[in-house]
Symmetry: C2
Subunit: 288 residues, 2 copies
DNA sequence: GGTAACTGTTTATGTCCTACGCGCTTTAGT
DNA sequence: ACTAAAGCGCGTAGGACATAAACAGTTACC
């Protein structure tokens, strides 16, 4: 579950001058450390720590990742961690790049649109698998080797598009943003559904999801709270357009024909990208 | 700075049955409290607390908002706050809705696209003004009176579009997501630029932004770190597409003609929405 | 062999959030 | 008017957290 076959930190090019002005966490990310060997062999390693932290986050969420708990998980005292990681912030940075390790290799030979779609979907799926990633502060998401590899795949999908690098970067950045938002919304609406089922069943807040009826969770309408608020509190005079739109609301969400939420978002954004590419003359007008 | 002229909680309709299954925080948000009047007049109020918390967050960021500091700001002991707010979580919920109070009223008479664009821009601007909003957990963003009002305006922009409510909601949700992402990226890249200037000037991490050269911050290229990592660590064999794209990279970001990042994102997303509306036959094909 | 570097640990500090219980103030009900 | 209860603000205290500083043991180089 943790064999690191992905890009190893490139052999440190020696003649690149002194360490440039990069955040310390980035340097650690790329294995840029003074290879001093004097004291005892470290029994612990940053990789172990990161792995333990990720296991914890997978099992109990990011909030469960405290230095104390991670230390306990690897069998050392909390302060031992600080020999391998400068602090909790850096640990989060390392976790954030390690997540990108498990992103798949995209199939070759896709056109730009199919490629970007696969790229986006894979990331959303990852966000749903590891919701704690969405709780990371953006400052913990720095360009590490694995994330860079993933970026490389995105540029690969745009290989045939003739556009300056910065514009490609803007497009990819937009998609990356969308991914975060989409996954966040899904995770959060799932949490809300679980919470709602708990409330309706009169169970305490802490009840683990595993004790609830999965069907009930599935059935909990995504906008149930929204709707309930509208019905209970909102005065039609204050929210005229909402009332007008929802007057015909059936309660059942029948999304656009044959499309789930994820598809809807991806399609809309990619349609926008396509329009942009057309406008820039980067793809022919007749392409599907 | 805090006159609440916006929608007051609608007069509690008495015959609506018992309090339905809604999160307690939502009920507080709509002023749904048992109007018991027995004890002393409260000297403190939830509104004061929220205001103080927001001032603190504006000045020093969300991390500075602790119960202790808020209590200090309003001149009471920390525990006094718990009489008016169930806990910190609820305080964050109240803050999140209060933020939406300061969103502007959109000009009437805009077509759907101009309306949604204004709606989106206003929210992004708010995110840049109050970056702490972006640090709130999504679970703190619940439908309160002010946020609902803002939703109403979005539906107002789509007034003339003939589409079921759930599809409109999906569109608006997509934009809301985009807003969060866009603002987050801007705020974070600003922070990164500040940090970079600090590093290059050799100043300690805590140096306040006000002591730095604004021009230098402005000049710090947004992708500087990315580029530096590429140049320093990444092996061309591992990241072929990145290297290919950036081989002609000039270092200067000359975004798409006459468009800043925000415009780029909005345009792309709205183009996607427009394509969707066309496909659904909700707007005529010949419209600009 | 001496020493310097490096390991994991112990101890301690400061900051959080908040459960619990105390006195005091006000109002409802008689 | 009197009483009881409800509501207010506060003090104490406990538990969790990140991490600074000093310490003892271990290894490699000179």
């Amino acid at each position: 579950m943790s064999t690191d076959t992905a890009p190893e930190p490139a052999e440190q090019p020696p003649g690149n001058g002194p360490t440039p002005e990069l955040p310390a966490a980035v340097q650690r990310l790329w294995g840029d450390a003074a290879p001093r060997r004097r004291g005892p062999k470290p029994a612990l390693s940053a990789a172990q720590i990161v792995q333990a932290a990720m296991d914890l986050a997978d099992a109990e969420g990011l909030a469960a990742v405290s230095m104390a708990r991670v230390a306990e998980a690897v069998g050392y005292t909390p302060m031992a961690l600080y020999r391998h990681v400068s602090g909790k912030d850096e640990l989060l940075v390392l976790m954030s790049d390690a997540v990108a390790r498990d992103l798949p290799e995209l199939p070759a030979g896709l056109d730009w649109r199919a490629g970007l779609e696969a790229w986006t979907r894979a990331q959303i799926d990852m966000g749903l698998d590891r919701p704690w990633f969405l709780d990371l502060p953006l400052s913990a998401v720095l360009p590490g080797p694995h994330r860079m590899r993933w970026m490389d795949q995105a540029f690969g999908a745009l290989r045939s598009i003739d556009l300056p690098a910065d514009e490609k970067l803007a497009i990819i950045g937009l998609l990356a943003q969308h991914v975060l938002g989409e996954a966040r919304v899904h995770v959060e609406s799932h949490r809300a559904a679980v919470q709602r089922v708990r409330r309706e069943a009169g169970l305490p807040d802490g009840t683990p999801e595993s004790e609830l009826d999965p069907a009930a969770i599935e059935a909990a309408a995504p906008y149930a709270d929204f709707e309930a608020v509208l019905a209970r509190y909102a005065a039609p005079a204050v929210y005229p357009h909402l009332f007008e739109s929802f007057s015909t609301w059936t309660g059942t969400v029948e999304a656009a024909p044959g499309a789930d939420d994820v598809t809807f978002g991806i399609t809309v954004v990619l349609d926008g990208v396509e329009a942009y590419l057309r406008r820039r003359g980067a793809i022919p007008d007749d392409e599907s």
